[in-house]
Symmetry: D2
């Protein structure tokens, strides 16, 4: 199968290119970049020298649609919503790594993204690509809204217990820690090495775009209204996200029961690994891989539940999950191209 | 004034030595180390070459008491509780950086430290050395239990609002992020460079010794029972602690009012800096200094309060606060020896 | 083909396991570890959870020889030399990642390794596994002495020009910078996070075991005696080696000519990439991959040549090259299992 | 004494401000910044909150000259050369941290800086501020060309032995490793956290502006022509420079003799520490301090000398040495304001 990437100079694109190179059934034939058209990906990313040498191109939707079956959008906000409709019209499957099609409500999008939403017909059509949860819908999708990095880690950590209604939906607090690559390749003082090294920063308190995304999914799974308090932090490493999730238990269940719930919930999922009681996953244990590792801790003293969930923000939190979704759509084994173990140390 | 340090090979000791070198009134005359007696501090820490060259000694309390006025304990748990009584008997002021005298209840100590507590008479005598809050008691103290690093950042962040009773005492969640130096100089795979670099780890969920310490102080200041859910994390940097503190508001106060509360509460305190609304402190902004920088964020959507508090774990979280306490005891200006700005970048 | 790893708890072993997992023709059936026998690799390295779960075993050469065709030694110095002979007797191919069979001279080994050398008959039999250079010998080998990390980067950088005799063999200076994983998983203050982070250290000046290894190969390729001045440094990152190599030109050749020499020398080698004039490779550009990237710079002002050569110390500098050698021995395509691009950023 | 800083938003300026805050005799009364005039230093650098709050100003040389005695230039290249003459005319002492007055030859400056040099009369007047070597000239200077970071580490490491003529002047190779802060606060992909973390980069081979600066001083001290091959590298840390210097011995002197030479040469210098034989300094051992730590290693096998020299690039390599020079000019003790030990770990 032939695929294209739009947005060829960001980290999402180059990570897609890396994984596609290892994919048994999909071939990356075109990389679109306006700012770098004419240059090869290897010129922008020298580590790709000898691996992907073809020139990047500007976008001609009609012409491109004739040569490919599927397109990944690794574009900033407010780009894909203008282009996806045309691709769909030509029958090309679209997997969008940006946030343009994630929120079902145009009003919420306008509020949190400070820009007009995509047309409602496409918002409706888009399937939220949290692979482990929405597999059935993904199979039939022509447009995937690939989840954000924080929501992926958070939702995989919360959905088993929120479906059970064992926690108070209004008690949920998510404390996120991300590696710096989540901020992308755009230059800013904030991620200037000398200012970010040996530093921890909290940011966007109560205003991060991933909040309505988490809430939308949790509401649906909890069958009730839910508000999430979310504080993202940036820590001095390149890759990895940990979300530490706090919630009040409402049922008297014990650690063993919760542990069992998670094991059963994810037992057929190749990319979710539940740690045994007392063992906590670290971000490095999923580095470069598509795994989401989860631990659950019930504090008997305070009756609060703490869930620790880790992913590689660029793999399971972006490019890896996008390819997992491509696999599901095409009926391939879900792990195709994604079987490489984490790199450690 | 002549002072001694006991426990000369740990990071606490060498940080005390660094700051004492810049102190106008105190002179470090003796460093005690059993494992390294006969060697100089500079042999164990080559950065001290030419700065502190005298040999470290084994401990003879009686002899030492004749030559010094004050002793800092930079020892592991369960050491100072055996030695402090004898120093006190000889009239030497003791500032203990370990946890031996922090908990007033011997039962709690036994439970959390898994060892017998110090004799009650000394637990009673010990003043908890959170300088900004217990200044009056510190002035008269002969024995200071210097606070732990996480409790320092957490308590300075919470006390103004907990005293006001504006938050639900049972809603408090503390998510801590520490630099690796907090784990000390002892070798372990956990802090082996290759395993800790490019990694975030949660640890000791619900079992960290700093939990009862935070709760003891908060109970006293809140005048009510209080339970803290605390999750410490270790992030890939050497120095710095950030605690992100979550609590449910119980009063309808707004951001401006809370902001004002904190400004007034700390207006005469030289080492606490309240950030203006919307500005969040980072750990690097206090690196190497005795500051505690605090920001408050009220999320109008969820009515939850988030407090971000940062310190250098080895300065305000250990050696710096110990020296601040020495200054208070001696009636010196509180900032003596501590006036060096943070090192940035 | 069935393979085993001996020395299952070090970084070399777990990197072999990672790459073997992606290999199309070889299957890792046994991991030998004395200290951890009975435990699974995933217990020692949780990132391998669900990937490699079988228990590690103690060594029984005879029994093991019946079930496997090839064995990798990821053991410390002075282990494989005792065991290899028995495996060879049973017809098992041995690839040794340690230094036991690298030096042809038992005297040199005794001098630099401070221990008795392997029996001469095996030293003679062993083929030095620098894949790009000794491919023909490797094809027929039963015992491979897999090169050290510094020698791999250095020799691939130097051999094209040293064969040409365009540089003064006694002018060669090698300044190496390694990531910390090169020091292995053994605990030491030297690689304790807090002491290694934000630090650069030179070490083992003139005494590093890789010196005689480099000199042995260079002598052979230069057909003349040669002495290398080598200074290794450790820098605060986990993976990657850069060697900056200095030499005096003896022929009046220009940059273009040298550039062409290197391009031609390596044109059929899939894992060596020569950078164009003026572009320098960085260690991150080969992270997690089997590439060796090289740049050459001729300083017209001083007539000195500077060669910059980078590898991932655990891949091309250890496990990756070992698997490349296994591929060559078995007549498989050289890149089998090694086609994953570098991880970036 | 009242002093001003020009160029208030770079790392050099804020480091000057940090050290001046601890200085017993000098007071920082004015900070000049065109881009940030009207804002306080604390707004640009929040770690300075409550420490330096006055507004930055635009430059009016005449007015400023009436209120201050000395001015530090922490400006980019090609700025101070236009302004210094006017300050000198008003009798204000100038210490220039940029390269504008370092090279005595206007031709060399034009060649390496790609811009016209300062007027010759000022180049002649300028004293090269390598404090330990040119103390006598510095005492009488009105204009100091403060040395570059790499030259400081390199020259302090080489001058004792080059004066003795024990090494071949044309054999000198300098391999430098710098922390990222040396690249300043200007944004670039090169020092973007995600691209610089876990990475080592060589740069500016044979073209770095510090080459003619090193050569000018070495020529003068060696009394002969000398050419330096210099390769700077950037490593993933914020502060610190190590230069590893290689040279061929021409005299048959042994390690002990060289060791003694260095000890004697620097015995009265408070900021140079010579390590004993076999002990190598690391950059972290001078972090935040004005020390230059040096080790010498004679390789008996190759007769090459290796010198390892470390400084904090922002202190001894910039702001600290500038203040040391201010102290010398004013006849104060050389260590005034600079007595704080290194921060470790």
């Amino acid at each position: 199968m032939r695929v294209a990437i739009i947005g060829g100079t960001g980290y999402g694109a180059v990570e897609l290119a890396r994984i596609l190179k290892m994919h048994p059934y999909a071939e990356l034939t075109t990389v679109i970049s306006h700012s770098q058209s004419g240059n090869s990906l290897a010129e922008v990313y020298p580590h790709m020298t000898g691996i992907i040498e073809q020139s990047m191109k500007t976008l001609d939707v009609k012409a491109l649609s004739k040569t490919i079956d599927l397109v990944f959008f690794a574009t900033p906000s407010n780009v894909s919503k203008e282009i996806v409709p045309e691709f769909l019209q030509y029958g090309v499957t679209c997997i969008d790594l940006s946030g343009d099609f994630r929120l079902k409500s145009p009003e919420l999008y306008a509020e949190w993204y400070q820009a007009p939403a995509a047309a409602s017909v496409y918002l409706d059509k888009a399937v939220y690509g949290l692979s482990e949860i929405y597999q059935e819908n993904i199979k039939k999708a022509k447009l995937i809204a690939n989840p954000g990095c924080y929501p992926t880690a958070t939702l995989l950590g919360l959905i088993p217990i929120i479906q059970k209604e064992w926690i108070d939906p209004n008690s949920v607090i998510v404390d996120g820690k991300t590696g710096v690559s989540g901020a992308g390749r755009g230059l800013s003082l904030n991620v200037h090495f000398s200012e970010m090294n040996e530093n921890v920063k909290a940011y966007k308190l109560g205003t991060h775009k991933h909040i309505p995304e988490m809430e939308q999914v949790l509401k649906q799974e909890a069958n009730t209204d839910i508000q999430v308090t979310f504080t993202p932090h940036i820590v001095p490493m390149t890759r990895g996200i940990m979300t530490t999730i706090y919630a009040d238990l409402t049922e008297s269940v014990d650690q063993v029961t919760i542990q069992q719930l998670y094991h059963e919930f994810y037992q057929t999922q190749p990319f979710v690994r539940i740690r045994p009681e007392g063992i906590l996953p670290t971000t490095k244990e999923v580095y470069g891989s598509n795994y989401c590792d989860i631990a659950i801790h019930l504090d008997k003293r305070t009756d609060k539940l703490t869930i620790v969930s880790v992913i590689d923000n660029l793999v399971k939190g972006a490019a890896g999950q996008a390819i997992q979704n491509m696999n599901i759509i095409n009926g391939w084994e879900e792990t195709a191209g994604l079987e490489h173990p984490p790199i450690y140390p």
